[in-house]
């Protein structure tokens, strides 16, 4: 057993309101500068839809992630040696039209315009060329099913049947999918980097691109199946979501999680077994969710604790893992699922799938068969097509609701129904309920602080923060 610690996130999609506060606070902090205009380390997609960048899920086009080739796991974009051989030519790279042409406006004209026949305006202009432009695309163009025929209807996760039904007003559905870097256990970006600049941090599993080492080959961009690493055209470096490590190191949540006003995000530690991971990397597609979960260890198991300690994991991290809301959602309750596990990067961001209104009129009692969002659709997004896994989570969500309604109304029948739907007892149902609805900031984010004290701390105390501190430190 090779125990490792991973900071991980759960997004409860049933609570997501699609407000994009996460995207904005992230942008303000990290990508509000030249070369990063089009970068949305965190974005929110309306589903059905084609996402950002457009059609990112289509690995036939972008060749991201891993595949089993000749019986073994390999990068879809080719081996590292293959990559090196075509280092100046990468046909799988997304181009500007897959993203959008960043724009701003001639705002100053509203103040400075001379008197004229017509009211002055601030015209749109390209952030690339500086010229006036016609805006044809943006990072969230199909928000709330805007342009549904062009976008929603082309969602690759829709079945042909659903694609048709979706055009009928009374049958439509909609959900939101916020996305950030998945800080994968098997990161394709890192595997594809010719410079070895992308690494996974030992203490918390955050995947980073070393901004000094990066040589701008951009193979990470195509290798990431989630398209969550972007090329900064101004600095000549690739950049990506950093899980706000300067915050997490101090026990604070990332900007996106902190600002999540729907309170859908939870952050905590997972302990996983690296040895087990190596064993399951090539698991059959339909079992991938279980394979991934099987790597995650029970932090309250004394054996796991012993191995964790042996692996150098600090006691406060082990304790945090025991209190981890992510562990509760992913393993204990089995409510949270990975995004497109078939990309085989073993993503460490998980999603509780969304319920939806019933399709049948005059019906408020929810039964799964009546949900607007087809189970097939959710399975395509979260379980590599495993519908049973999706049904299982939806039933549990219904179970919590039924049990709690029964409790509030003193209706035993409803409580029993909740127990049978979820397969849990009352105590477990209440815990799941409180975790979903009542957990406050400190409960949603259980983030142990990074230990930094060491032999030189005494000297560093006074030098920390000076610009040359890095030099002296070395």
């Amino acid at each position: 057993m090779d125990v490792r610690a991973q900071l991980s996130m759960v997004l409860h999609l049933d609570k997501c309101i699609g407000c994009h506060t996460c995207s904005v606070t992230c942008k303000n902090l990290w990508t509000n500068r030249k070369g990063t205009e089009y970068m949305w380390w965190n974005n929110v997609e309306t589903r059905p839809g084609t996402g950002y960048p457009k059609n990112w899920e289509d690995q036939g086009k972008f060749r991201g992630g891993w595949e089993i080739k000749n019986g073994s796991l390999s990068l879809k974009s080719g081996s590292k040696w293959g990559i090196l051989s075509r280092i100046f030519h990468n046909p799988d790279q997304p181009v500007m039209k897959d993203y959008y042409e960043p724009f701003t406006y001639d705002y100053a004209n509203l103040t400075d315009a001379p008197e004229s026949a017509n009211q002055p305006i601030a015209r749109a202009k390209s952030r690339i060329t500086g010229e006036s432009m016609n805006i044809e695309a943006g990072p969230n163009w199909d928000d709330d099913l805007g342009g549904s025929r062009e976008y929603a209807a082309k969602d690759p996760n829709l079945t042909e049947e659903d694609r048709v039904l979706f055009g009928e007003f009374e049958k439509i559905f909609m959900m939101y999918l916020p996305r950030l870097c998945n800080h994968c256990l098997n990161p394709a970006c890192a595997a594809a980097c010719p410079s070895g600049s992308i690494y996974k941090r030992g203490e918390d599993g955050i995947v980073l691109n070393d901004q000094e080492k990066c040589r701008a080959w951009r193979y990470c961009v195509s290798a990431c199946p989630y398209k969550k690493i972007y090329y900064n055209w101004d600095r000549g470096k690739s950049e990506k979501c950093i899980f706000c490590y300067p915050k997490s190191e101090n026990g604070e949540p990332s900007a996106c999680a902190h600002s999540c006003v729907g309170r859908i995000r939870y952050t905590g530690v997972l302990l996983y077994d690296y040895d087990r991971l190596i064993q399951v990397l090539e698991a059959p597609e339909e079992t991938l969710v279980e394979a991934l979960k099987s790597c995650i260890l029970d932090p309250s198991d004394p054996e796991v604790k012993r191995h964790a300690k042996k692996a150098g994991i600090e006691p406060d991290w082990i304790q945090a893992a025991e209190n981890s809301p992510v562990y509760a959602f992913v393993k204990e309750f089995g409510l949270a699922l990975p995004l497109h596990p078939e990309f085989r990067t073993f993503p460490m961001v998980f999603y509780v799938p969304s319920l939806s209104p019933v399709l049948r009129k005059a019906e408020t009692d929810m039964t799964m068969e009546n949900f607007r969002i087809p189970v097939k659709y959710l399975a395509s997004v979260f379980t590599a097509g495993n519908e049973a896994a999706v049904e299982d989570t939806l039933k549990k969500l219904l179970g919590i609701r039924s049990y709690m309604r029964g409790k509030e109304l003193a209706d035993k029948e409803l409580m029993e129904k909740g127990i049978s739907l979820s397969g849990w007892n009352g105590r477990e149902l209440e815990k799941a309920y409180r975790l979903t609805s009542l957990t406050n900031f400190t409960g949603r984010f259980v983030i142990p602080k990074t230990r930094r004290e060491n032999g030189s701390s005494y000297e560093m105390q006074g030098a920390e923060g000076f610009l040359d501190h890095g030099k002296n430190k070395r």
């Binding site: 407000c19 990072p139 342009g147 080492k213 309170r263 709690m404």
Partner: protein
């Protein structure tokens, strides 16, 4: 296994080696965190941390330290949405107003005039009297040519124009508009205080925005009082209608989502697949604007199944105690059967007619004895000399006996004729049986029935659900498109849930219902279901209306400061819908109101046009109107006081008689006389010319006098009492805008003053969405040459005083006319509608016409008063909502907190800065000071005769200072100025004070009123909630000929903007469609040959808009959505049909006023600012859409 522990999976453990990480670590570090918020009118009221690094604001994240209400209710954190998170963009952006600007043409005229005249007032006069000069800069409005200037020059022009206007036309020709105070209360108070000190008027916003739910004052006598969003969590059955909480109540939406896991069922009524639908168990896609039909059918089911077929004790006891259902109504014989008339009152019964206020004591019948009695708590007891009987005890107010009200009479059965309308909009009365009793009155024998019996008949309760007659589940389908089964199911679940939970059924409602012409009827229909199920005044139940209503928690102290009540009373407070309907001449473009307002018999009304109804409302003291008289109110005061030898009472009589004889006239009857134009318009904290200008193009034409796109023509209607004229153009002399961004209002103004942003000033913020008070504080100083609003108006006051001294060397009197006021004895002024204009009786100020007051104005001392808290607060105390108390101790405390100023040797509290003004608001009000609350509750104890002081127990020492709220948001405490209660573990829910402590509602009966017996309501057939046909396109006649797709344009609140704020923000534009757009259904788009992102033109007779199409399956046919409110300044092309710049959403709108909302001087139908009056409806807007093949800028 071929995969090895390869390089890409090797974890790197040594932080010291990872030097590249410093790159991001340094960015994340900051020098300072400051607590502030966004003073924008979304009601969010979210506390934020602002991060400052090297003196630059880099970003913001929400504060998460709200005190927890209870461990079984989710916390209020984090509050704040994407819009708020993008605010820091504005601070340094090229959109920022950094310096004062003046319209170039005006600056040239001013510079020339100043060379000729040393006195600035004379200089201004020279420009104003030169019509071509005046026109030359008016016509340049909105067309560029702004010029940077210095503060002195800008203030000089502002002061000169204001003093000139006061002197030449009177102070009430100066007006100011600033929206919703709660989000930045001191900033609002700044302009209001200045305007009230000089005698100008403040324009309302809540009614103008059409956010005021008229049904709330109608039913509850309350402007609006709603639960904080935490209380949504207590509901077990929540229906959303016209409210898209996921999108527009972003920081609160989690309570709804989270309540579902506590077992709450959620039903969403929405014509489109709105963002909130995802939270629903059931989505009811009912047709737009047809909510009343749905709810009337729901009520039909509830009465049938929970009152008729079975007895539901909780419901029965509730309606008997807390509603007017058992009150008796006189039936009037008509050819079609009986019609419900006025309430039976003590004055109708011989034995009771001699009681004080007998006409204002409505009667019940005792269940045990069958005798009539006058229950405590009716309005007659509220305004009686003897106090202590205004409460909801089950007691006879005269004999003191315990009584049980009878809900239903069964002595006799009569045929009632009730109103209905068919699908085509035709009037179709229905005859139905009802229980009644014949009784002896002073007018002879009459039939009476209880409100319950009348309601039951009206609803058709008991009829077969599948019979097509009003208001069965089958009947409603023709209007809503919803099959009867759904209605029956929702009705049963809603009521069963309330029965099982003691009223924890809730309706969350908003603009999607409130902004229709007959919104009061829709609301009344829905509220009826809440009242019938005992769900009002209960935690987790009731009507949760959220649109535009932001609660100024410390209302009493805030109003005193803002309306300068510490120096002069009464303030001039103007309902904006009437003001703009008349002054922007929109009234001249329509005919009879009954062209679209269906009533049983329009001949019953003498007036036929809304402007005539408005004139009537003004002369009878129902509504305000400024300017009040033709001619200056200062000249008028001098004239009548001289005639009366200084005797003010006599002078008032003289005024009344001059009005009667026509020697004096109301300006509302001659609005296009240049003497009656609004002349100087101050705008601050808002976008008055665009997002707040319904009929925007009419504003451009008539108010501003610049280019416009009005294609409509004046109808030349023959008015009853309004002088015939053509709508004048360019009425306003000067528009002054305080702004931090170049929005549409700034672009069209004459002077733009650079205002500090919300991260650059100190202020207070509260909301009805939660019960905390928290501040705006200065993270960085006001950037460039900007200043906070309190400081800007201080500068204006200073320059004004200096300029005025020469023109007003000594104090003068100003004759101020104000309407009959809510929460005062004026509520019992007019038992019947009599109009002295038609010779019914004589005008008596304060009785049959407006109240008159002579207010002294010392124009040289405006600045001194502005910065000093007048001692009348110390001596006379303050109050709100009918409760008042003495403020001596707090005033003296305030002198220590703020420091003192001396005026003529007297020591007074200093309010010269925004921080000091904030302290005054916090210190003086019950919500933030336990001692004050105790005093206030004692006052209400005396009025009601009920024990209430215990509600402050444990909080006597509680007080909140600015420093404390800067450290952490603080919760407000119980106060009798509000109808709900808070406390440990308890979320605020309205009317819990009424239900639990038996404090009456401030209505005629003291109870929640199903029935409205005002004469106008009876005549209009709206004494009970009914369904009225929608105002369709033909009725309104707004669309023009030619081809194109005709759609109903709806303007719900948007995702990427809060009104127009944030719309122009690069972040929000990037995440949306980059500019103005309209959402269409796929089918409609196809008909017009439009595909997604095509340019199109939308037009009607009111104006034109050029924008992009968003084509979506989410939208039903027949309607389109342009999310309120974009800016016509962002990437808007020229209109091909006019050749001018395309307009904004309000270019297509026009206001129409509902006369029944003008009623006054009668119980809850009595005016107060933002509280009562017609609302600026805007959903009945039809447009024609054509695709644009070529786009020109």
């Amino acid at each position: 296994m071929t995969v090895k522990k390869s390089d890409h999976m090797k974890d790197i453990h040594k932080p010291a080696e990872r030097v590249g990480e410093d790159f991001y670590r340094v960015r994340n570090s900051y020098d300072k965190v400051v607590r502030s918020t966004h003073g924008v009118n979304c009601t969010g009221s979210c506390s934020w941390n602002i991060y400052v690094k090297n003196g630059i604001v880099t970003n913001e994240l929400q504060a998460v330290d709200y005190p927890q209400i209870d461990h079984d209710i989710p916390n209020y954190e984090p509050r704040g949405c994407a819009r708020g998170a993008s605010f820091s963009w504005y601070l340094y952006s090229p959109l920022r107003v950094k310096y004062p600007y003046v319209r170039g043409r005006l600056l040239d005229l001013w510079t020339e005039a100043k060379k000729r005249f040393a006195d600035p007032v004379a200089a201004w006069e020279s420009i104003m009297t030169d019509e071509s000069a005046r026109k030359s800069f008016q016509q340049a409005r909105g067309k560029g040519g702004l010029r940077r200037t210095d503060w002195d020059t800008a203030l000089d022009i502002i002061a000169a124009s204001s003093v000139y206007t006061v002197k030449k036309y009177g102070p009430d020709r100066i007006t100011g508009f600033s929206p919703i105070p709660a989000m930045s209360q001191v900033s609002y108070a700044a302009g209001a205080r200045f305007l009230q000190l000089i005698g100008g008027s403040c324009l309302s916003f809540y009614d103008w925005y059409c956010d005021l739910p008229a049904a709330s004052p109608q039913i509850w006598g309350e402007q609006t009082d709603v639960c904080e969003s935490a209380d949504w969590y207590n509901s077990m059955y929540t229906v959303l209608m016209g409210s898209n909480v996921s999108m527009t109540r972003t920081p609160d939406a989690h309570f709804l989502a989270e309540s579902r896991y506590k077992g709450t069922k959620v039903v969403v009524l929405s014509p489109d697949y709105s963002q909130a639908v995802k939270h629903a168990d059931l989505w009811v896609p009912l047709k737009k604007g047809q909510d009343a039909a749905f709810w009337l059918a729901v009520n039909n089911v509830i009465i049938n199944e929970f009152y008729n077929k079975k007895d539901t004790p909780y419901f029965r006891e509730y309606v008997k105690k807390y509603t007017d259902l058992p009150f008796l109504v006189k039936l009037e014989a008509s050819k079609d059967g009986f019609r419900a008339g006025r309430y039976l009152r003590a004055s109708d019964i011989d034995a009771l007619a001699g009681e004080e206020n007998a006409a204002w004591k409505m009667l019940l019948m005792d269940e045990t004895t069958g005798s009539l009695y006058s229950p405590k708590g009716t309005i007659g007891y509220r305004w009686a000399k003897e106090k202590g009987k205004w409460n909801l005890e089950d007691t006879d107010g005269i004999e003191g006996l315990e009584r049980i009200p009878m809900l239903s009479l069964s002595d006799e059965e009569v045929i009632l004729s009730t109103d209905g309308y068919d699908a085509g909009g035709g009037y179709a009365p229905v005859k139905r049986k009802a229980g009644a009793k014949r009784i002896k009155t002073v007018q002879g024998d009459v039939y009476v029935a209880t409100v319950f019996d009348i309601l039951k008949a009206n609803l058709g309760a008991g009829a077969d659900y599948y019979e097509n007659s009003p208001y069965t589940p089958a009947w409603q389908q023709q209007f809503t498109g919803i099959e009867p089964e759904t209605v029956i199911k929702v009705a049963r679940e809603f009521a069963e849930n309330a029965e099982k939970t003691g009223g924890r059924s809730m309706i969350i409602i908003g603009a999607g219902v409130n902004q229709w012409y007959h919104s009061d009827l829709s609301y009344r229909a829905a509220i009826m279901a809440l009242m019938l199920t005992g769900s009002v005044g209960v935690n987790g139940g009731g009507l949760a209306h959220y649109v535009g209503q932001e609660k100024v928690a410390m209302l009493s102290s805030w109003s005193a400061l803002a309306m300068a009540g510490d120096w002069c009373k009464p303030p001039r407070l103007q309902n904006a819908p009437s003001f703009w309907y008349i002054h922007s001449d929109q009234f001249r473009y329509e005919g009879s109101v009954f062209d679209y307002f269906a009533v049983p018999d329009k001949e019953k009304f003498k007036e036929q046009h809304s402007a005539d109804f408005n004139a009537k409302a003004v002369r009878l003291g129902w509504l305000p109107f400024y300017p009040q008289f033709c001619g200056s109110s200062i000249d008028a005061a001098e004239e009548v006081l001289t005639e009366a030898d200084g005797d003010k009472a006599k002078a008032m009589k003289i005024t009344a008689s001059k009005l009667k004889k026509g020697e004096m006239k109301f300006a509302a009857e001659d609005p296009d006389n240049p003497k009656n134009f609004p002349r100087v318009w101050y705008i601050w904290r808002g976008n008055a010319i665009s997002s707040s200008a319904k009929g925007h193009e009419y504003f451009l034409k008539h108010i501003l006098g610049t280019d416009h796109s009005v294609h409509a023509e004046e109808t030349g209607f023959g008015f009853e009492n309004i002088k015939d004229a053509k709508g004048a153009e360019g009425k306003v002399d000067l528009v002054v805008d305080l702004n931090f961004r170049m929005d549409t209002s700034a672009v069209y103004s004459d002077i733009i003053l650079p205002a500090a942003t919300w991260y650059e000033k100190n202020d207070l913020n509260t909301s009805d969405m939660h019960t905390f008070v928290h501040p705006l504080t200065e993270a960085v100083p006001p950037l460039w040459e900007s200043a906070g609003d309190w400081e800007i108006f201080r500068r204006i006051a200073e320059k004004f005083s200096e300029t005025a001294s020469a023109h007003f060397p000594k104090p003068v009197y100003d004759l101020v006319a104000t309407p009959l006021a809510h929460d005062s004895p004026d509520e019992i002024a007019q038992e019947n509608v009599t109009d002295w204009k038609y010779g019914h009786e004589d005008p008596v100020p304060g009785k049959t016409m407006p109240k008159l007051t002579f207010v002294e104005r010392d124009y040289g001392k405006i600045h001194e008063k502005y910065i000093t808290l007048g001692k009348s607060i110390r001596e006379n105390g303050i109050g709100a909502h009918g409760v008042s108390w003495n403020s001596g101790e707090e005033y003296d405390d305030l002198k220590k907190i703020n420091g003192s100023r001396y005026m003529e040797g007297e020591e007074m509290a200093d309010v010269s800065t925004a921080l000091k003004a904030s302290s005054a608001i916090l210190r003086l009000a019950p919500e933030g000071n336990g001692q004050v609350s105790l005093k206030a509750f004692r006052d209400l104890e005396a009025k009601t005769g009920r024990p209430l002081a215990h509600l402050v127990e444990g909080y006597e020492e509680y007080s909140v200072s600015f420093d404390e709220i800067t450290r952490q948001p603080r919760r407000i405490i119980n106060s009798p100025c509000w109808s709900g209660k808070v406390g440990k573990g308890r979320a605020y829910a309205p009317f819990t004070l009424n239900v639990e402590d038996l404090v009456p509602w401030r209505t005629l009966t003291g109870r929640q009123q199903f029935y409205l017996d005002h004469e106008m309501y009876i005549q209009a057939g709206e004494n009970l909630p009914v369904y009225k046909p929608e105002l369709d396109m033909e009725m309104l006649g707004e669309t023009e000929g030619g081809d194109g797709l005709v759609l109903n344009l709806l303007t719900p609140h948007g995702k990427w903007n809060i009104h127009s704020t944030y719309f122009d923000n690069e972040r929000m534009l990037t995440l949306s469609r980059g500019g103005q757009c309209v959402w269409l259904s796929e089918k409609d788009a196809e008909k017009a040959g439009i595909t997604d992102n095509d340019w199109l033109e939308m037009s009607n007779k009111n104006g034109n808009v050029v924008c992009r199409a968003v084509v979506s399956v989410r939208i039903p046919e027949g309607m389109c959505l342009m999310y309120h409110a974009p800016e016509r300044t962002i990437d808007v092309p020229l209109s091909p049909s006019t050749g001018k710049r395309g307009g904004v959403h309000n270019s297509l709108s026009r206001v129409r006023l509902k006369p029944t909302l003008m009623a006054g001087g009668y119980g809850q139908f009595t005016y107060y600012f933002n509280y009562w009056g017609p609302i600026g409806v805007n959903r009945e807007t039809f447009v024609k859409i054509r695709k644009l093949n070529e786009v020109r800028y």
